[in-house]
């Protein structure tokens, strides 16, 4: 399976890639605590058990590789990772950096 990052052209494409990552790739790396849950754009990723302390490392790496830029440590806050929509809102370049 190729792991070369696909570069999204729009926020919608970025959202779609995140959905694939959370629902398909991440469970292969780290089986979720709760089985049978499929993430939607507004699913609470941590409360649902889909992302834990090991998954978050992989998720951050995925976002950085997909967007081609590192995430500043100050941006690693819960409001930016709570849902897939929050990730897109925080890190899609056209939205600019958040405080």
């Amino acid at each position: 399976m190729s792991h070369a990052p696909v570069k999204p052209a729009t926020p919608k494409e970025f959202q779609a890639l995140l959905l694939v990552f959370i629902n398909q790739r991440l469970p292969e790396i780290r089986p979720p605590k709760t089985l049978g849950i499929q993430a939607l754009p507004d699913t609470l990723l941590f409360d649902s058990g889909l992302v834990d302390s090991m998954g978050i490392v992989q998720l951050i790496l995925f976002v950085e590789e997909t967007l081609g830029q590192p995430i500043p440590t100050r941006m690693i806050v819960m409001k930016h990772f709570r849902t897939i929509d929050a990730i897109v809102e925080a890190f899609w370049p056209t939205h600019g950096e958040r405080q």
Binding site: S53, I56, V57, T73, V77, F81
Partner: protein
């Protein structure tokens, strides 16, 4: 690896120091008792299996200190306590007080929430010694809450407010901010990120230009409840929270009110990073060129993450590109620390 730790694990206390130390702890103990805390006194040695259950060696292996007996006490001279003659350590030096509390309650179902308080000597393998501020041996008084999630969260907030009032009353002004433990990277990176995301740790720090963390509030959710099989009255794994006060730092802050801007030297910075990132340690010598030292992107991320965790400044890619050697990088970090404390 050469460290900069000198021959003293802690500042030697004078009679005046002792008087002040006991006065401060008495005030803190009074507060804890007024909040219904049960006073306990734990040993300084903690069983290795307790720390392993708490996953401390996994998260902070670089800070751990262990006590080992001599295998053959008949050996004379320095060889008596050289590694070849040391037995497997059953005991460790306590890195914090609260681990004893979880072990004390292990396997119990609590009829009602518990509040414990204990003062103890704590030990961490620090890269350098700065009397009163960073010591291998130091004392903390901790207030430990164990109970249902909502009770712990509500009382942690209430206790934190009372602790804040006490510190201000004692002449220790400061403010709370999100904090991070110096987790061992890269192995414990996920835990470090989760702590930052969930803001499960906050520290009370003295004001600029030389902030020093005097106290912390650490919310563990059900992490220790699960590992030590402590159940609350509903049968669920108990949540825990500990409020910790660094008594040596309280004393130091009161006796050094106009603390000069403490900037670690580049050698201290390098030593701290080497202890925190042992996988990179062989490549962290002063004259080591940065380029070609085999630091890959993951190593770089870990290095930058640990710089921010230890020194509260950010080093970005362009800083790395400008630095030719590790010494240049350490100088850059020292300058950023100094600039952080300089009024704009």
């Amino acid at each position: 690896m050469t460290t900069l730790v000198n021959n003293t694990a802690a500042k030697v206390r004078t009679a005046q120091d002792i008087q002040q130390f006991e006065r401060l702890d008495a005030a803190l103990l009074d507060l804890a008792l007024s909040l219904g805390a049960e006073p306990l006194q734990f040993p300084s040695l903690v069983c290795r299996s307790v720390l392993e259950k708490a996953e401390y060696p996994k998260a902070f292996p670089h800070l751990l200190l262990a006590a080992a007996p001599a295998k053959d006490p008949g050996i004379t001279g320095p060889a008596l306590i050289e590694p070849a003659n040391l037995g497997s350590p059953h005991w460790c030096l306590s890195p914090a007080v609260c681990y004893h509390a979880y072990a004390h309650l292990a396997g119990q179902r609590l009829d009602s929430p518990r509040v414990l308080t204990a003062r103890g000597r704590c030990f961490r393998h620090e890269a350098f010694f700065d009397p009163g501020r960073r010591q291998l041996e130091f004392e903390m008084r901790e207030i430990i809450l164990i109970g249902p999630a909502r009770w712990v969260d509500e009382n942690a907030l209430a206790f934190k407010e009372k602790l804040t009032s006490l510190m201000i009353h004692l002449g220790l002004p400061g403010g709370w901010q999100a904090a991070q433990d110096p987790f061992f990277l890269p192995a414990a990176k996920g835990q470090a990120i989760m702590q930052q995301l969930k803001e499960t740790k906050v520290e009370y720090c003295t004001p600029e230009p030389d902030p020093l963390a005097l106290a912390s509030v650490n919310r563990h959710e059900d992490f220790f409840g699960r590992r030590f099989e402590i159940l609350d009255s509903t049968g669920r794994h108990a949540h825990t929270c500990c409020l910790a006060a660094g008594l040596d730092r309280w004393c130091h802050t009161l006796t050094h009110p106009a603390t000069p801007n403490h900037i670690p030297t580049p050698d201290q910075i390098i030593a701290s990073l080497a202890v925190a990132l042992p996988a990179l340690a062989p490549r962290l010598s002063r004259d080591q060129p940065l380029r070609g030292m085999g630091i890959d992107s993951i190593d770089t991320v870990d290095l930058l993450f640990m710089v921010e965790s230890l020194f509260k400044v950010q080093v970005v890619e362009s800083d790395l590109q400008r630095a030719n050697t590790i010494a240049d990088l350490a100088d850059c970090i020292a300058k950023k620390i100094q600039q952080k404390g300089t009024p704009q």
